[in-house]
């Protein structure tokens, strides 16, 4: 009996974990390329869900149109934010000095701006979901059961992550982005337009978050505070190693499974604190996460 519980907990944890990982992906690619933690990451997800809702429900357009349009709008917003705000802030800082404070304030401000804007519309007063893409009919894998929707979310998340990994590893643009994050000055010397790369990455990350929002809407449900899931995305990224695109999948899955096992064998109340304990433990004993390479040394 306990075996079934564990198996089911793991299976469902895999799905939820892939949700965390997908959202964390945007955080990771931004951090990899710009060393910035985007505290508005969750709100980009929320924005994507609401923008998609507008096109799907209000205008009645089909998903095949809505998803690219939403991604495009998010891309525009993300890259605009980088151009208008971050460019200026980063341009001002002196090397060696921490830009963290400015970055946090800027992205926290953005998250409040997004939430405040969405709350002005009465559609956000109630928790909603998007029209279903996949059915919730159950699929039996032995004694474990998952819905078709669950399996689709898992597969799509993994596919997106693999695509992104390939992008960073094998395409010219992707390699240029990696170069700018590892050593911006050298990158400039080789002729890579660092500033434009950064804007590009913010656009991509925003688009990614928005599409993630559309995909995971049935799992997280759509509300202005849906961005709160970013904490779990942070935990997933930390477990995997904040700079590792593939590590993030593992990190997310590990987190999702841990949450369920804690809920089954400790208590449901403890689920809420599990991700924080994990973050603290990992940062204390292995700050680079499972796949982050060398321990993060302070750059002076």
């Amino acid at each position: 009996m306990t075996g079934t519980l564990i198996l089911q907990g793991v299976a469902s944890g895999l799905v939820t974990g892939s949700v965390y990982a997908l959202i964390a992906l945007s955080l990771v690619i931004v951090f990899k390329s710009t060393e910035v933690i985007n505290f508005a990451g969750g709100e980009f997800v929320m924005l994507g869900a609401y923008v998609a809702m507008f096109f799907l429900v209000f205008l009645g357009l089909p998903y095949i149109v809505v998803v690219p349009v939403t991604a495009f709008i998010a891309f525009a917003v993300g890259s605009a934010f980088d151009r208008v705000v971050l460019d200026r802030v980063l341009g001002r800082h002196r090397p060696g000095q921490s830009i963290m404070v400015a970055m946090v304030i800027a992205t926290v401000g953005l998250s409040f701006a997004f939430k405040g804007t969405v709350r002005l519309f009465s559609v956000s007063d109630n928790v909603r979901t998007l029209p279903p893409i996949f059915s919730t009919d159950p699929v039996f894998l032995g004694e474990v059961v998952l819905s078709k929707q669950d399996i689709a979310i898992f597969l799509i998340s993994v596919a997106v992550m693999l695509l992104l990994f390939a992008f960073f590893q094998f395409t010219k643009v992707g390699r240029a982005l990696r170069a700018t994050s590892e050593n911006p000055r050298a990158a400039t010397l080789v002729g890579i337009p660092v500033r434009r790369m950064r804007t590009l990455i913010w656009g991509i990350a925003a688009a990614l978050s928005a599409v993630a929002g559309v995909l995971v809407a049935p799992k997280l449900l759509v509300s202005p505070d849906m961005g709160g899931v970013i904490i779990l995305a942070f935990a997933a990224a930390i477990i995997g190693g904040f700079t590792n695109v593939l590590g993030v999948i593992v990190g997310g899955i590990v987190l999702g499974v841990i949450e369920n096992l804690v809920g089954l064998f400790v208590s449901s109340k403890a689920i809420a604190i599990a991700p924080f304990i994990v973050i603290i433990l990992i940062l204390m004993f292995r700050p680079q996460g499972l796949f982050g390479g060398a321990a993060p040394i302070k750059k002076v």
């Binding site: 059961v145 949450e259 449901s268 809420a272």
Partner: protein, 409 residues
């Protein structure tokens, strides 16, 4: 001019202004002329009305507050109370304890209101209790459950006008046992004060009926994956699942229960299903609602015929606005205040108002049961109805259920 000199000048001016304009603020309890209490004259009585009007919890307070105001406006149109019009001052308490206390202190010491009316969130309403008791100011909650501020009852604080959380928990178990013949109860609540109160009442009513809790799970309001608690429900072979969480987690739980093959009836509290149609969409699969019920403190479905007059009143007062499901919950407390002011006679004081409140008993035409207050009873409403819902149609279940848990061991 240096900064410091400027600052000093500003400080002196500010001090002078505060002295000049606050001279009469020295004794906030002094009234004007023949009236002992502030906020009352021959022509008007002043009420400080507050609720969350912005932010995440705006939905619980905004429409409810304006419905209460609409009631007051209607009373004014009919001539007021004993010849006095009700003047309402509105403020946003943001459901935050520090903010609510600030709002009330402003009402009392700056606006000089006669009584305080407001609050949609229990934990912020409780913050006011010490201040209003010490300063002997009547405080009537708006639609907050208010459990920890009305149990044990104190003289100046009144609440639970839509039912306390004890009502929610006690009646839902009562229904599960009596109507659904349940003996092994699975109960999922939040790890907040609502969960604490409603589960305590539920446990009491279960014991009273000889049923037992086989599962009691408390989950965070932000929970994303509900697999663990629902698995435990399945493993414990419960014969009913009771959910008293908010609507997001409740929809996820119902979905998960269906996905994991649970076939037992599910009963959800009112806070889980404010908009049944939307809830069904969030669940996504009508098959999951085959055996689903929800509770409500109202006397009918939210848009049922008995509720029409309230909705009409709101729409007349605010043309073009569509009220949310919590709107009607704001009216009973306003009705009670008006009733008590009438009973208190042509020259009410705060104390005579409190005495009149302690004898209140009437039917609101909105709620499932009567409003009843007494010297030692400050929770106003204690009843629920239950509705069967399959995703499309509602079927009102027979009977009105009353909670009996008042803190007994």
């Amino acid at each position: 001019m240096t900064i410091f000199r400027l600052t000093t000048k500003a400080a002196v001016i500010a001090a002078a202004i505060s002295l000049a304009t606050s001279a009469q603020a020295f004794d906030p309890s002094a009234g004007t002329g023949k009236y002992k209490d502030p906020g009352i004259t021959d022509k008007e009585i002043v009420i400080g009305l507050h609720a969350p009007l912005s932010g995440r919890l705006k939905g619980f307070g905004f429409d409810a507050l304006y419905a209460a105001k609409a009631w007051y406006d209607m009373i004014n149109k009919r001539g007021g109370i004993w010849g006095r019009k009700i003047r309402v001052i509105v403020a946003d308490d943001k459901c935050s304890p520090t903010e609510l206390v600030a709002v009330q202190k402003k009402f009392v010491t700056v606006d000089k209101v006669f009584l305080l009316h407001g609050g949609s969130c229990t934990h912020s309403a409780v913050a006011a209790q010490e201040y209003v008791t010490r300063n002997k100011i009547p405080y009537v909650m708006l639609n907050a459950s208010g459990d920890s501020a009305v149990f044990p009852p104190t003289r100046y604080v009144f609440g639970s006008f839509g039912g306390s959380q004890r009502t929610v928990g006690g009646t839902i178990v009562d229904f599960a046992v009596r109507a659904l013949k349940a003996k092994r109860i699975a109960y999922i609540a939040h790890d907040d004060n609502y969960g604490a109160s409603n589960s305590a009442a539920g446990a009491f009513m279960a014991k009273k009926h000889g049923a037992k809790f086989v599962v009691l799970e408390k989950v965070s309001r932000k929970i994303v994956d509900v697999t663990a608690p629902v698995l435990k429900v399945r493993a414990a072979r419960a014969d009913v699942l009771i959910i008293t969480t908010y609507t997001g987690p409740a929809a996820l739980i119902v979905k998960k229960a269906h996905a994991l093959g649970l076939k037992i009836p599910i009963v959800a509290a009112v806070q889980a299903v404010p908009l049944p149609g939307l809830f069904a969409k969030n669940v996504g699969n009508p098959a999951a609602l085959k055996n689903f019920y929800y509770g409500s403190p109202l006397n009918d479905l939210t848009r049922g015929p008995k509720q029409k007059w309230v909705i009409d009143m709101y729409k007349t007062a605010y043309p073009g606005r569509k009220p949310n499901p919590f709107m009607a919950y704001g009216v009973p407390s306003a009705q009670t205040i008006v009733y008590a002011l009438m009973m208190a006679g042509p020259n009410p004081t705060r104390e005579s108002f409190i005495d009149a409140m302690s004898k209140v008993s009437f039917n609101t035409g909105i709620l499932a049961g009567p409003i009843e207050l007494a010297e030692k009873k400050r929770d106003a409403h204690n009843a629920s109805i239950f509705v069967r819902f399959d995703g499309k149609s509602h079927g009102r279940m027979k009977g009105v259920y009353f909670n009996e848990y008042r803190g007994q061991k």
